[in-house]
């Protein structure tokens, strides 16, 4: 397993092997820097899972990858365009190649499920209404929501909302599909259903999938490669097998779900203050 990424080659991505290339990406909210120079590559047609604890910066990385968070430094190359310096038209062209399933679904509450799925088709294509109707039914069928066309998002359960959001993300036949916490707020059975949906979609359509999650079971099930982010830095990149075999203490702590050192009693507190934390996972 590679200990953090080596700095990528300076030649721009040719687009054949690499879908997204992130170089030394920094993102700040006000004074606070959330991502401290992330470099990674997303390969064509792979499922990359971005793992990390709460506040690790993984969601910010996803927002930067889709052009929602403005980086304070670094580059994101996609289809020959640096998103950090892209003109609005270039950014729009890139976004038409994406599908995003947001954490809460982000379905438009004022529209029915079918209208939600049809929206990108109506806005960006000149398809006839009857064609759009068929496509919407197909997409809903793919995510197991056939027959729910005329429901409002508020009438759907959490899992169904996520499925509807995936159907909307699939509407434009995206080349890259992003998932933000696909199993957040779902019970284990429904969450497993979403994992299988992702696997099935991958089988049916050859696309690149980027998933942000903190669910280990789900990550190991769907990932071709995984990235572990901690405090705004990449801790490790590798296949699920490499992750399982990892001996890095911080990686092990995350995988074995070991809690941060808990302080019990006076001696424990003294110990915590004097203890030197292991250096291995501080990669800088």
């Amino acid at each position: 397993m590679s200990e953090r990424t080596t700095s990528p080659s300076t030649a721009p991505t040719d687009g054949s092997e690499i879908a997204l290339s992130v170089r030394n990406l920094r993102v700040s909210y006000g004074e606070r820097e959330v991502l401290h120079g992330i470099s990674l590559e997303v390969r064509h047609r792979e499922t990359l899972v971005i793992l990390g604890g709460s506040g690790s910066g993984k969601s910010t990385l996803l927002r930067a990858l889709v052009g929602l968070a403005k980086p304070s430094g670094g580059e994101i190359w996609a289809y020959g365009v640096n998103l950090c310096a892209a003109r609005p038209a270039e950014l729009a062209a890139y976004r038409k190649k994406l599908g995003i399933s947001f954490q809460g679904g982000a379905l438009f509450g004022s529209m029915t499920v079918a209208e939600n799925v049809a929206l990108p088709l109506r806005e960006h294509t000149r398809l006839e209404e009857s064609t759009i109707e068929i496509m919407v039914r197909l997409k809903l069928d793919q995510v197991g929501l056939a027959g729910f066309e005329n429901y409002r998002p508020s009438e759907l359960s959490g899992g169904m909302k996520k499925r509807a959001a995936v159907a909307r993300a699939l509407a434009m036949d995206p080349q890259i599909l992003f998932f933000d916490e696909p199993s957040a707020g779902l019970d284990p059975i429904i969450a497993a259903g979403i994992d299988h949906l992702i696997l099935n979609l991958k089988q049916a359509f050859p696309m690149t999938v980027v998933v942000v999650t903190h669910e280990l079971a789900s990550a190991f099930l769907i990932a071709d490669r995984m990235v572990l982010i901690d405090k705004g830095n990449i801790l490790a990149i590798g296949t699920p097998g490499e992750f399982r075999a990892s001996t890095q203490p911080r990686v092990r702590q995350f995988l074995d779900r070991v809690a941060e050192t808990e302080v019990t009693g006076e001696t424990g507190y003294l110990q915590m203050l004097t203890e030197r934390r292991p250096r291995e996972y501080r990669n800088d």
């Binding site: 927002r63 889709v66 929602l68 976004r95 809460g104 982000a106 379905l107 806005e123």
Partner: protein, 265 residues
């Protein structure tokens, strides 16, 4: 030094806020007037839907309020006019103050309460639930999609509502005129029409269009400024109402002063 620094900071923040409103208004105007010629179609069905909510929905409450204001104005006017034996002038006093000032203002305040706050709540909720992000990542501009139809609806409906409020105000005045000042309804109306000039009506209507722009800009801007969390939506909604009322009155002052100066020449 402290108070001066804080005053400076507040002034800068105020100017930045006005700048934000202007930017939002200009972008909405771009999508309304230039966008359609550059292959960015206008969302007429959304605008009509908004116009129904802003306009038709406000009619009952606006009718009542402006009618009452008409009666109140007539009563207050008569109190003073009676001293000079000039009760006849009550019709022109009501007509002019309603069409030039109170009609547009009352309409604006009703619309702020009903629609300006609703704009802030709608966009704020969409912000919190990542729907705005979803629009952006679908390569749809939230301003084009959400704000422009609201501006168009307001620009069309506020003058209409103002004319309605003017009429209801005059009817309110007529109620007192007929019951308390010895007018017949017919005579009251004729006296009103004689007192009014076209200019009275147009100044009110020009104001109402500007009010409409102000209310939409503030409502949408506050919506977009909503932070994370549901309680922030409530904050934006309240802020949109307070700021809109203040700005509408400030704009009113500027325009009234302007029309006063123009009217003298």
């Amino acid at each position: 030094m402290e108070p001066a620094a804080s005053l400076g900071q507040k002034t800068l923040a105020g100017l930045a806020y006005l700048g934000g409103l202007a930017k939002l208004g200009l972008r909405a105007a771009y999508y309304a007037f230039i966008g359609p010629f550059r292959g960015k179609p206008l969302r007429m069905s959304r605008a009509i839907h908004q116009a129904m909510a802003v306009g038709v929905g406000a009619l009952p409450i606006l009718t009542l309020i402006s009618f009452f204001i008409g009666v109140i104005l007539a009563l207050q006017g008569a109190y003073e006019l009676r001293k000079f034996g000039a009760l006849n002038y009550v019709s022109s006093a009501v007509a002019i103050s309603v069409t030039r000032e109170l009609g547009p203002l009352i309409t604006a305040i009703v619309v702020i309460g009903r629609s300006g706050s609703a704009f802030a709540a709608e966009i704020g909720t969409m912000k919190v639930t990542e729907e705005i992000d979803a629009l952006e990542t679908m390569a749809l501009d939230p301003v084009q999609f959400l704000v422009t139809p609201k501006f168009l609806a307001m620009a069309a409906m506020l003058p209409c509502l103002t004319i309605w409020a003017d009429t209801m105000g005059v009817f309110g005045g007529a109620l007192f005129g007929v019951t308390g000042a010895g007018f017949t309804f017919d005579r009251y109306m004729r006296a009103t029409l004689e007192a009014l000039e076209m200019r009275d009506l147009t100044t009110g209507l020009i104001k109402s269009v500007v009010f409409g722009g102000t209310i939409t800009a503030v409502g949408c801007y506050e919506g977009f400024c909503t932070g994370a969390g549901a309680e922030q939506v409530g904050r934006s909604t309240t802020a949109s109402v307070v700021t809109s009322i203040f700005l509408v009155i400030a704009v009113d002052l500027v325009f009234t002063a302007l029309f006063y100066v123009l009217g003298r020449t």
